[in-house]
Amino acid sequence: MTIQTFPAGKDGENGTPPEGTEKTDSPGRSGEPGATGAQGTPVEVAPVLTTVVPAGARRRGVPRWVRRPVGPLCLLAAWQIAVWTGSASTELLASPWTVVTTFADLVGNGELPKAILVSLRRAGTGLLLGGFIGITLALLAGLFRLGEDLIDAAVQMIRTVPFVGLIPLFIIWFGIGERPKTALVAFGVAFPLYLNTYAGIRNVDATLVEAARTVGLGRAGLIRHVILPGALPNVLVGLRFSLGIAWLALIFAEQINANRGLGHLMNRAQEFQRTDIIVVCLVVYALLGLAVDAVVRLLERLLLSWRPAFSGA
């Protein structure tokens, strides 16, 4: 009886159910399944039990800080081995070891630290300038209706312009010195900060705002104690985006008419076909990016310590 009714009901969905139905139905055949449950007689088939593994037991083995660098190191090793075995040409890409020695040379003659300092200053100035503009605009647009009406549409429009396309314009406006480079970084940085700060302000939990009003907070108090701290997680997300873009903008900006900085070093290396120097510069860019990201993560840990976050399984 049951076997007949079951497939009939599931027929429309797929063709396989009859097989499954027969299987699940056979153990129950010795007694009516419904009757067994109702009368409370012992179940004949014991449920399969799964042991819950305590979290501590699962975390055995290699600690994470050892585990994490393994991937990149394997990649490097593979590259070096490829060079040694002759399957990778050193003309096109210098071997990791050459890169290491070049790095030591460039640090030794002071060329690299000087270039890094110049580039860092450009990125830093641009970041400060762009961050100030982006966050100020976001505060005006986020906190005041008038600000939103005046600012938001304009910003949303301008942000669709690919900032790299502005380089020629910036050169005309600012010449070829430091200013177009700083301006490009600032331009790229301002938008992620604006968007995230604005969204953060507008997404602050309305029930918290209400609760804060009932304890007598005025407008200034609401902004200081509720809205800004509530928007902070988003601001930090925006900051991370901005930092990524700051490096990107810097690389673009330094490719043109720079006579100092990491980009200049790379450009010159290209002229002399020194792939090792190019790779050193790329590695430096990557390391600087990592370092900056670590700073933001530290900031997050300090500023958002109230937030119990999901830390991954």
Partner: protein, 252 residues
């Protein structure tokens, strides 16, 4: 019929010797075409514990929001004590401020830790003063929210189903805590609930809200602390349940 009852409610409230902590006359509140509160009048004397019962959607939370000055799209007259505090169904603590800073939030001057600790002590939560709100249990968070209300030394406390989200055991504990705090500080309390037992355990006066007006008012004179097994209590409960349309007998 509703108007007659309502008038008697106002009379009962106004007739007592204490000055009023809440006066509401001819209050009306609509959301679009639906009128949620329709010509409601109510008076709560200082120090009285009033519970407001009603089915969900009857407008009792709207009334409380109006009395908390969170909703002023109204017509009619509403006067409320200026020192008042609200506790909501969810604790609504700012997650980025430690518990004690949440308690004194909005008080003038610098955050006064001693004052916060005194309030937290009263609700039995002084040991969690430095915790982040998100690490509190439901009952702890609700007690912190009560401390935040208490620290303002309110003349009127508005409680919007503050026990609604608590488990049965915690609920009993927080209920008796609210009663103790009320007996110690004697604010007027308006407690919105849909739990008849809770209303009768705590209230001097239980109001039933229906169709946007207060349709019924019961003075609860049972001695405190009250017991749910007291025959007089059981009788009152049956009467109120009937008023709410749940009991065995019909309201007529």
């Amino acid at each position: 019929m509703a108007t007659g009852l309502q008038r008697s409610v106002t009379a009962t409230g106004g007739g007592t010797e204490a000055p009023p902590a809440v006066v509401v006359r001819n209050l009306r509140r609509s959301f679009g075409d639906t009128t949620v509160i329709d010509d409601l009048s109510l008076s709560v004397p200082a120090g009285q514990f009033v519970t407001l019962l009603g089915r969900s959607g009857c407008g009792k939370s709207t009334l409380l929001r109006i009395l908390a000055d969170l909703d002023n799209e109204i017509s009619g007259e509403v006067r409320i004590a200026s020192r008042r505090a609200v506790a909501f169904q969810s604790p609504r603590l700012l997650p980025w401020k430690r518990v004690w800073r949440n308690v004194v939030l909005g008080l003038p001057g610098r955050p006064d830790r001693a004052r916060a600790l005194a309030a937290l002590e009263e609700v039995g939560l002084a040991h969690r003063a430095d915790a982040w709100p998100k690490t509190l249990s439901g009952g702890e968070a609700q007690r912190a929210s009560l401390a935040r209300a208490l620290v303002r030394d309110p003349e009127l406390m508005l409680l919007d189903e503050p026990f609604g989200a608590l488990d049965a055991l915690t609920r009993i504990r927080v209920q008796s805590l609210v009663e103790q705090l009320w007996q110690r500080h004697r604010p007027a309390i308006l407690l919105v609930t849909h739990d008849v037992e809770e209303a009768l355990l705590l209230a001097d006066r239980a109001l039933v809200m229906e169709d946007g007006v207060i349709s019924h008012s019961v003075d609860v004179t049972l001695p405190r602390p009250r017991s749910v097994t007291d025959p007089a209590f059981v009788e009152l409960r049956a009467e109120l349940l009937a008023r709410l349309g749940v009991g065995a007998s019909s309201p007529s």
